[in-house]
């Protein structure tokens, strides 16, 4: 088969360029190596480049929500080239290494941070058959890679030789390690429902999106993914009213830029992961299977757009929360996690596992819709029961609080569930300054 430029362009549009090139170049061993390297470059580079747009979109949307205009000068009408200008600015800035810094840790941290964020995209199913690598242990891979990114924060905090950075890193590790638990538990629910760990098979199993099966566990996953990416209201990692900028206090120029890019890539990945595991990924009423003309797979292109659309939807909620919610205190954050989300999620996980086995073994005739309905009902019951338990314990806490008014601060710090504590005393550190905390206008 000889190379035909028209067919090649068409194969790019239905996302089969790899297969096409393989069929043109033959089956020699170097072909698969070259194609693999091309694939790695594409999967790692496109998320990195889309940080430019995601960052701009976030700044524009946040500005609109806060009744501002946002970037509007650079690159014509909508500040389209603002992020490019910022990157150029960061590239021209001097790299300042603080005195007494541990240079190995200091420079390894941003690299590790960006590398782990880029590695995560290998298992995102973008469209039918379009995935970096369809690992059998896809979701487990995600968890293990994101546990490595914790090391990067620790290195940055330690290497900077700065108290604020070190405190920020300690906070970050406490938060990330704690919220990993409900995240893993809530990711197990789609794994059980799809009976596979591969992200591709989880998407394929979602004729009905899993968010309908288990809305409460989807919500818990969403909340813990907010915390894992350090987004408001869980942005204690860089609470600038307390610890300057957290673990990246001492970073300047493009090294800071790497952290920022890694952060945005992590956020994008979490959005994709949520849409993959709970919203049905690229599936949307069979739209992803359309084939037109002589074998042009329009559905794959549509699948790509559906994935991006769903991811963008989740990202919009991320931005929305950031624009509206104040920051939590560290004790509220950890209490909410360990005393509410983890027990609730354990209950949900046990019920889902048991129910699903029972349904599949004894009443398989109810079909997909019946299965979804039973799971939905059980999930909502557990969710309501959990909230009721929380409310009771909150009431008890409040009564104790009223009777022993002298130990006001202690009682509040001691295991008061977050809703209550927030009612009694509003959390400080409201993120209400004009531009966002990690917009690419580094204040340092």
């Amino acid at each position: 088969m000889s190379f035909n430029i028209g067919e090649f362009i068409s194969s790019i549009f239905d996302l089969t360029a790899g297969d096409y090139l393989a069929s043109v170049w033959g089956t020699e061993p170097w072909v698969s190596v070259v194609l693999d390297i091309l694939g790695i470059l594409i999967v790692a580079t496109i998320p990195l480049l889309s940080v430019f747009f995601v960052g701009l979109i976030e700044r524009k949307v946040l500005a609109r929500m806060q009744d501002r205009i946002g970037p509007n000068r650079v690159g014509g009408k909508y500040g389209l080239l603002q992020m490019f200008a910022d990157v150029v600015k960061m590239l021209t800035k001097e790299l300042l290494v603080p005195a007494g810094a541990d240079k190995v840790a200091y420079f390894l941290a941003p690299i590790l941070s960006l590398a782990t964020s880029a590695l995560l995209f290998a298992v995102v199913p973008f469209a039918p058959g379009v995935i970096g690598t369809n690992l059998g242990v896809g979701v487990f891979y995600v968890l293990s890679i994101s546990s490595v990114s914790v090391v990067a924060l620790l290195l940055a905090g330690w290497g900077s030789n700065n108290k604020y950075a070190l405190l920020g890193a300690f906070r970050a590790v406490a938060q990330l390690v704690s919220y990993e638990v409900p995240m893993i538990l809530s990711l197990l629910v789609p794994i059980i429902l799809a009976s596979s760990m591969s992200t591709m098979e989880i998407v394929e199993a979602q004729a009905i999106p899993f968010v309908i099966f288990a809305p409460i566990s989807a919500l818990i996953f969403f909340v813990s993914s907010l915390a894992e990416t350090g987004r408001s209201p869980f942005d204690l990692l860089e609470a600038e009213s307390e610890i300057v900028a957290g673990f990246h206090t001492e970073y300047s120029g493009m090294v800071f830029g790497l952290f920022m890019a890694a952060e945005y890539m992590g956020i994008m990945f979490m959005c994709f992961l949520f849409s993959t595991t709970y919203l049905g990924g690229y599936r949307f009423f069979g739209l992803e299977e359309i084939v037109v003309g002589n074998g042009f797979q329009l559905g794959r292109l549509l699948g790509l757009f559906i994935t991006i659309f769903k991811g963008a939807l989740v990202f919009f909620v991320f931005m929305w929360l950031r624009a509206t919610l104040p920051r939590l205190r560290i004790d509220q954050l950890l209490n909410f996690n360990w005393k509410f989300m983890v027990p609730l999620m354990l209950m949900i996980l046990l019920t889902v596992a048991l129910l699903d086995r029972l349904i599949l073994d004894y009443i398989p005739q109810v079909g997909d819709a019946g299965r979804a309905g039973i799971h939905l009902v059980s999930n909502i019951i557990i969710g309501l029961a959990g909230i009721e338990v929380l409310r009771r314990s909150a009431r008890r806490q409040r009564q104790r609080h009223n009777t022993t008014s002298t130990v006001l601060a202690v009682a509040e710090n001691e295991g008061a569930p977050i809703f209550v504590a927030a009612e009694v005393e509003p959390a400080y550190g409201h993120d209400d300054h004009g531009h966002d905390a990690h917009a690419p206008v580094p204040a340092h």
Binding site: P29, V33, D102, V104, A105, L108, L135, G136, V137, F140, Y141, L143, S144, I145, S147, V148, V150, V151, L154, L155, W158, V173, V177, M197, V407, V410, E414
Partner: protein
Amino acid sequence: MTLEQVIFILVSFLTLGTGIVVVTNRNLFHAALAMMASFLGVAGLYILLDAGFLAAAQLLVYIGAISILIIFAIMLTRRMMQAREASFNSQSGLGLFTAVATFALLAAVIGQFWWGVDAFNGRPDVPDTVLQNTVSSLGKAFVSPEAYVVPFIVASVLLLAALIGAIYVAWPTVHAEDEA
């Protein structure tokens, strides 16, 4: 040399080289970093053996949990800022004996399985379907009565006991609550 062999040599050098750094570096923090790199190399070896699940578990457990624990321990010990501990002590004779004994043991165990297989001409052909389903085979082996259900449950009980023990130790006594 095939590409796989090149990758194997690189990964082995990463594992062994950083392993040497772990024991020779005088800066404890850097030694811990090198240990992480060494663990990463081991994960790479698992991937070369098509044991994806084991590789991911290696990353999650050794780099994500144990290394972080070690780094915290180093950070919280007293002389962390100097980080100039002596890296050798005077027990080299005992160390040599332990190293030789461990090597002999490993060599004996590996050798039992080695000579049957042609170790230098690639791996035996395992069909892709088996490799894709390692997780489900593992899961079945853990709960099947013919396989590993007893060790699995014993391990679970041990972990549960540790959890309860931790809660008991951390549980505030009535007395402490009154003081607060």
